[in-house]
């Protein structure tokens, strides 16, 4: 009986070891480590998710990415959480997107600025402009040199410029979300047009969105913007972007004309020196041709 008191200690030690194993299982779903053969498997799952997202198959993407993220920590995990967030956004599951972004930030603290931007963007899409602005402002103040700061400030400027027109801004945000989700936002654009607010901005956003896939449609939108809202602050951007689109499309003369028109129309704009330089290069390029 002398050694009886040792039994509780032995039992506690065994329970601790068992518990750790159980903990691992609950976290990873695996009783044994998957790292041995998991590296290739992880990459495969990630690529599956990417592909599904590109194809707009959010369900397939979610399945692949969830499997990957459930596996615990691995080289693809953080990226998978990020992709899952985007996937959830496109599937209009904004709360899930938020959780996924939180996980990204938790796993890789260096992504704090990026995740903050994305989470602010989620709030913007949800119409929570004040919250979004606060997040964006904090990001820009804390990390003004981070690449995300430019996007953050751009979105912040947009929110603050139109903070007095919360309703139209919500429509605009919804339209942008729909575009992001690959859905049609014609209703929102029409609503804005009908209300007669934020039209220039709406046109600019639409043009930018379609410029990659349908340059002609984009050019039409740019032209419309320049014609209908010549005094809008977005008109200058529209002209430059139109010129750039034409330049990419090989319409150098038209592009030059647009750039020169910009010089004439916006003589005090800060983009003037760039445009002048670009014109010079274009002319040189044409001369070479």
């Amino acid at each position: 009986m002398k050694g009886c008191w040792l039994l509780p200690l032995l039992f506690a030690g065994a329970a601790w070891g068992l518990d750790r194993g159980l903990q691992r299982f609950l976290e990873t779903g695996e009783l044994a480590g998957w790292e041995v053969a998991g590296r290739e498997r992880g990459a495969q799952l990630f690529r599956q998710g990417q592909k599904a997202l590109a194809l707009g198959d959010t369900a397939a993407g979610r399945a692949a990415l969830e499997q990957l993220t459930r596996a615990g920590s691995g080289p693809w995990t953080a990226a998978a959480w990020g992709l899952r967030a985007e996937n959830a956004l496109r599937a209009d599951r904004l709360d899930e997107a938020e959780r996924c972004l939180e996980e990204v930030c938790r796993q890789v603290p260096q992504t704090a600025a990026w995740t903050r931007l994305r989470r602010a963007e989620l709030r913007y899409f949800q119409g929570k402009f004040a919250e979004a602005a606060a997040w964006l402002e904090e990001l820009a103040r804390q990390l003004p040199g981070d690449p995300s700061a430019n996007d953050a400030l751009a979105l912040l400027a947009l929110i603050e410029e139109h903070k007095d027109r919360a309703g139209p801004l919500q429509v605009l945000a919804r339209a942008q979300l729909r575009l992001r989700q690959g859905r049609d936002a014609a209703g929102e654009w029409a609503q804005l047009e009908a209300e007669g607010v934020l039209q220039a901005l709406a046109l600019l956003i639409q043009a930018r969105w379609v410029a990659g896939g349908d340059p002609a449609a984009a050019l039409r939108l740019y032209e419309r913007l320049a014609k209908e809202f010549p005094k809008s602050p977005h008109a200058a951007a529209a002209r430059l972007e139109e010129a750039a689109l034409r330049e990419v499309g090989g319409e150098l003369a038209e592009a030059l004309a647009q750039y020169e028109a910009f010089l004439a129309l916006f003589p005090e704009d800060a983009r003037l020196p760039e445009v002048r330089l670009h014109i010079q290069r274009l002319r040189q390029q044409r001369g070479n041709q």
């Binding site: 430019n150 400027a157 603050e160």
Partner: protein, 1102 residues
């Protein structure tokens, strides 16, 4: 025979009687002889001794001789003459010899009767007859016949003669004879022969009161030498001496103020005196003197003890208890006032005491008498000084000068009064123009020094423009002895100016300021050109000529003078703003802008510029052109910034002045309407004397019309639309013939045509109302247009900066890419971005000339971005695209910071046009004030409980944490108030004070001062909330009755909660008296109600 025996006995008795007589006469005679002889001999002996100073044997011999000779003579006389008297028969024979008539009867009788045989021989009858006969004959004999007294008398005469001689001798040389007698009385004693000069010195051994004089008297006898030597010494010290001339037989000498015991003697000729001792007697002295002052009750001074000296200094009426302790027990003491009025003191041992009451200045001394009846010497004379109860002093620290009355007709008076013993009363005395004086007492807490802040509301005085109120403050002290004394401040005046006067005055000042600035700006431009030229010349290594150096020095001196003059201009601007504020001529927002401009002007000449200027002045003397060029380069950089700041300030000043003039015009229009309304109301009550008021109104209306036209011309530069509206308004006034109609109304009022006057007045009031409303609307539109235009500029700048930032990011990424374009191309792109940044900076600069809402750090941030871009362009130009990535990232960061600052500026701009932001801030501030009130009470409780040191430390720590929390909350509120300079600074200042109190608490300094600071914080928070609240609110110019609001500094909250409740109620009442709009009045009521309920709740808790 039987009668014969008797007869015989009778005869014998008769003879015996004769014999007795004879014996007495003999003895007397012999004794007189002996005495006379002895006296003469003694005189001779004394004379000899005195003269010869005989030696002892001789002296003894003389003495013996003097005794023996008289005795011998006495013996001889007796022996010779006595026997004849002892025998009866011899006596009978001597009698018969002197008396012949007896014949021999007597002797015969005696023999017969003595012979036994005679009876036998003679018959009895014979015997008897013989006896009878003898007896009869003897009876007939007179004794004097037998024994005469003459010899005795002769001897006695001789004795008397000897006595006379002796007496005369004694009288003539008594001293010598006395000394001789003394020596002769001691015949065997050897005596030295006395000197020829004999000295007697008085007083010999003596006792002298210390410090007193000692008088000596020297008497000389015998030979008198020409001088004497007086010798003295203290204890064992050597003798000192003084030669004294002897002109007489006596001499007086005085030892003055004897301080120590000494011995003395005198020598003169052969004579000398013994050594005499002088001992000192210490007189009584005052060893300790204590004065106890009991001041008059009105002075409020406590009892004071003074042991320093005996001078008495006190107020008239002060009772002084004088106590002394002497060096020795006293028999009596007197206090003598003014040398003549002794006042006995009560003595007890060596102490004495008395009292005196100060009535007038003078002096006193104390006279002591010790038990030996020695009096104190040279008593100290003490002064009695009567302190003047000085008259009170009073000053009006604020305003302390003649003023124009502010718009609200309230004048803040700050009275500083002081009296040496207490101010009892303060009175404000005033008169309007030359009317009778009026007065009223100001509330005060009696004290020696008062600082009373009082708001004097002149609203109830029914003042008219151009009235003057002359006023002063009188102060009375509390002198209950001689009656209150009084002083008064100088008389100041308050003038009730018309709005037009105020505006004209301010406008003139501002025009002068603007002219100065413009002139300086022009001079600065020329100066810059000149300095640049000098720099270029210096760069060409061209040394300046003497004239050139002088010219440069002159230019630099001018530069310095202009920089200094800017400070003066800033001060003038502050005065102008104050004038505007007091006159209610400008809104809070406008005043804030003026304050910002004042700050800008004060900051135009930065310390860096001043330093560069000083450096340049030093180097201007240098012969080395390179140094000069370098210094000029540094200076020109600062100078350019100086020029830009000056330009911006000038532009802003123009802008603000335009806004101010517009606002002034609006207020004047409103005032016209209000005055017309007052006249109309007075006319309805048939008040006389309205015509002059209406005429003044007519004049002011005409002036406003002229000014509107003038302002229309000036406003074109800023806003053509507003300029057009101003002209339109002037035209409308012309069309409505306002001035003419007012003139008519004045005539009607004069003629008492009241019904026409009422109609005309109402019509005019309506038109004036329309005018003021149009003006106010026009001002609002002007402001909105201005802000919209500035906001657009800032939005555009923000978009541009964001574009530049994004492009900068792209360019950096491009440079880092393996497929990057050549660095030269990237350098071109970078340079283009730099130029773009310049354009953005210019745009921001243009906006900065129109608004003060820009964040101050904006130019710094953009400047840093430009520098980084420039550096990146240079590195790219040097083909170093990898290293260029660093400044490119920096540039992007600074551009983003610039974007944030622009956003903040936009926020400032939008908040400045949105008064609702004040409401939110106020609500928060009131909430914090409430928490501060709770904290103050906790502090007070902690103080009141008198906690143990350890517990007090813990409690102080807890209070410090709470105070810190409130300070942080206030700092957050301060952030929300950005763009509201004045309010923000007030809140910032309160937060600073909170931190200071928290620090004190952390150091466990839980004192009444801490609590006072906390009370002050709460008061300031309430004041600030009210101030924030009233910002942007239009203050109406009014002349209505009001109550003065006294304020004598923050008072500590009482310990009992009931009292705290009363104070809060009072605070609420006071706060609600402020000019709050109605929507906030309810909020304030709620706030105080919550505080009250909270306190009530705490009170109910066990």
């Amino acid at each position: 025979m039987s009668a014969s025996p008797a007869l015989h006995a009778h005869l014998l008795a008769h003879l015996a009687r004769l014999r007795r007589r004879a014996l007495l006469l003999l003895l007397g005679e012999v004794l007189a002889l002996a005495l006379g002889l002895g006296l003469l001999l003694a005189l001779v002996a004394l004379g000899l001794e005195a003269w010869l100073f005989v030696p002892p044997p001789w002296r003894a011999g003389l003495g013996l001789a003097g005794v023996a000779i008289p005795n011998l003579v006495l013996g001889l006389q007796l022996s010779r003459r006595l026997p004849s008297l002892l025998s009866l028969k011899a006596l009978a024979l001597r009698v018969e010899g002197r008396c012949p008539q007896l014949q021999q009867h007597l002797i015969s009788t005696l023999e017969l009767w003595e012979n036994p045989r005679a009876a036998s021989l003679y018959s009895a009858s014979l015997l008897g007859a013989t006896l009878e006969r003898a007896t009869r004959l003897l009876a007939q004999v007179e004794p004097a016949q037998v024994f005469a007294t003459a010899p005795l008398l002769a001897r006695l005469r001789q004795l008397g003669g000897a006595g006379v001689v002796g007496l005369l001798a004694w009288l003539g040389a008594g001293q010598s004879l006395g000394a001789a007698l003394d020596r002769c009385a001691h015949p065997l004693t050897a005596y030295a022969r006395p000197s020829r000069t004999r000295l007697a010195l008085e007083p010999g051994d003596a006792e002298v009161v210390k410090g007193a004089d000692l008088a000596l008297r020297l008497r000389l006898a015998g030979e008198r030498p020409p001088s004497a030597r007086l010798q003295w010494r203290e204890e064992a010290s050597p003798w000192q001496e003084e030669e004294l001339a002897l002109d007489a037989d006596s001499l007086r000498y005085l030892f003055k103020r004897v301080q120590r015991p000494f011995a003395y003697r005198v020598e003169a000729g052969e004579g000398s005196t013994p050594e005499y001792q002088v001992r000192l007697i210490e007189p009584p002295v005052v060893q300790r003197l204590r004065l106890e002052y009991h001041y008059p009750a009105y002075s409020g001074l406590p009892v004071k003890s003074d042991e320093e000296n005996g001078d008495i200094t006190g107020l008239a009426g002060t009772r002084v208890l004088i106590e002394l302790e002497a060096s020795q027990p006293l028999a009596g003491t007197e206090l003598v006032r003014g040398d003549t009025l002794p006042q006995p003191m009560q003595v007890e041992g060596a102490r004495a005491r008395t009292e005196l009451t100060i009535a007038r200045a003078g002096h006193y001394h104390l006279e002591l008498l010790d038990l030996k009846q020695v009096a104190s010497r040279d008593p100290i004379r003490y002064a009695i000084q009567v302190l003047e109860d000085a008259p009170p002093s009073v000053a009006l620290a604020e305003p302390g000068r003649d003023l124009d009355l502010p718009e609200n007709l309230k004048v803040g008076l700050r009275v500083e009064a002081a009296d040496d013993f207490g101010v009892a009363r303060l009175s404000l005395v005033w008169r309007i123009n030359s009317e009778a004086e009026e007065r009223r007492d100001l509330p005060l807490r009696p004290g020696r020094q008062l600082s009373l802040a009082q708001t004097w509301d002149l609203g109830g005085l029914d003042l008219l423009p151009e009235d003057r109120v002359f006023y002063r403050v009188e102060v009375f002290d509390n002198d209950a002895f001689a009656g209150p004394k009084q002083s008064a401040t100088p008389e100041y005046s308050l003038r009730y100016p018309s709005l037009r006067e105020l505006y004209e005055e301010v406008a003139q000042t501002q025009e002068a300021q603007q002219d100065s600035l413009e002139a300086w700006a022009e001079q600065e431009e020329q100066s810059q050109k000149y300095l640049e030229q000098v720099r270029r010349e210096a760069l060409r290594n061209k040394e300046l000529s003497w004239e050139g150096k002088k010219e440069l020095e002159s230019a630099l001196a001018g530069q310095k003078a202009r920089a200094q003059a800017l400070e003066e201009l800033a001060r003038q601007l502050a005065e102008t703003a104050q004038k505007l504020e007091q006159g209610g001529l400008a809104s809070q927002e406008l005043l804030q802008k003026m304050e910002e401009i004042r700050r800008l002007i004060a900051e135009v000449a930065t310390p860096e510029l001043q330093e560069a200027l000083s450096r340049l002045q030093e180097v201007a003397q240098s012969p080395n052109p390179e140094d000069l060029a370098e210094a000029l380069k540094a200076f020109n950089e600062d100078h350019r910034a100086f020029q830009e700041r000056l330009d911006r300030t000038l532009a802003l000043l123009r802008q603000i002045q335009a806004e101010q003039r517009l606002e002034g015009a609006v207020k004047r229009a409103e005032e016209l309407e209000k005055r017309q309304n007052q006249i109309n109301q007075a006319a309805a009550q048939k008040t006389p004397g309205l015509a002059p008021q209406e005429r003044r109104l007519e004049q002011d209306t005409g002036h406003l019309q002229e000014d509107l036209e003038k302002q229309g011309g000036e406003m074109g530069e800023f806003d053509p639309e507003t300029a057009r509206q101003l002209w339109d308004q002037a035209g409308a006034m012309q069309e409505q013939q306002l001035a003419q109609r007012m003139q008519e109304l004045a005539g009607q009022l004069e003629a008492q045509e009241m019904s026409e006057a009422r109609r005309q007045g109402e019509s005019l009031e309506g038109d004036l109302k329309t005018l003021s409303q149009s003006m106010r609307k026009m001002q609002g539109e002007f402001t909105a247009r201005q802000k919209k235009q500035i906001g657009r500029q800032l939005q555009q700048a923000l978009a541009e900066v964001l574009h530049l930032s994004r492009r900068q990011e792209d360019l950096g990424r491009q440079g880092a890419s393996p497929t990057a374009p050549p660095p030269a191309e990237l350098a071109q792109d970078q340079f283009a971005l730099l130029q773009g940044a310049d354009l953005a900076a210019e745009r921001i600069g243009r906006a900065a000339k129109q608004t003060l809402s820009l964040a101050p750090e904006l130019s710094l941030s953009l400047g840093q971005a430009r520098r980084s871009m420039q550096q990146a362009a240079q590195l790219l130009g040097q083909q170093d695209s990898q290293v260029a990535g660093v400044p490119q990232a920096e540039a992007m960061r600074h551009l983003n910071e610039t974007a944030l600052l622009l956003r903040q500026s936009l926020d400032n701009l939008s908040k400045s046009q949105n008064p609702s932001s004040f409401g939110e801030a106020m609500q928060k501030l009131l909430g914090l004030s409430e928490q501060q009130a709770g904290l103050n009470q906790a502090t007070q409780q902690a103080l009141g409980q008198g906690l143990e040191p350890g517990n007090q430390g813990r409690e102080a720590g807890r209070l410090a944490a709470e105070q810190d929390r409130l300070a942080q909350a206030l700092e957050m509120l301060e952030q929300q108030l950005r763009g509201q300079g004045g309010a923000r600074r007030r809140v910032e200042s309160i937060a600073e004070e909170m931190k200071s109190v928290a620090e004190e608490l952390r150091q466990q300094r839980l004192t009444p001062q801490t609590l006072a600071a906390q009370q002050r914080i709460m008061q300031r928070m309430l004041d600030a909330s009210r101030s924030i609240h009233t910002q942007g609110q239009e203050e109406k110019r009014r002349a209505e009755s009001g109550q003065d609001q006294g304020y004598s500094g923050p008072g500590a909250l009482p310990a009992d909660l009931g009292q705290a409740y009363d104070q809060l109620r009072g605070a609420m009442k006071r706060a609600l008296e402020g000019p709050y709009p109605e929507e906030y009045r309810a909020l304030i009521e709620q706030y105080y109600e919550r505080v009250y309920q909270d306190l009530l709740g705490r009170q109910e808790q066990p």
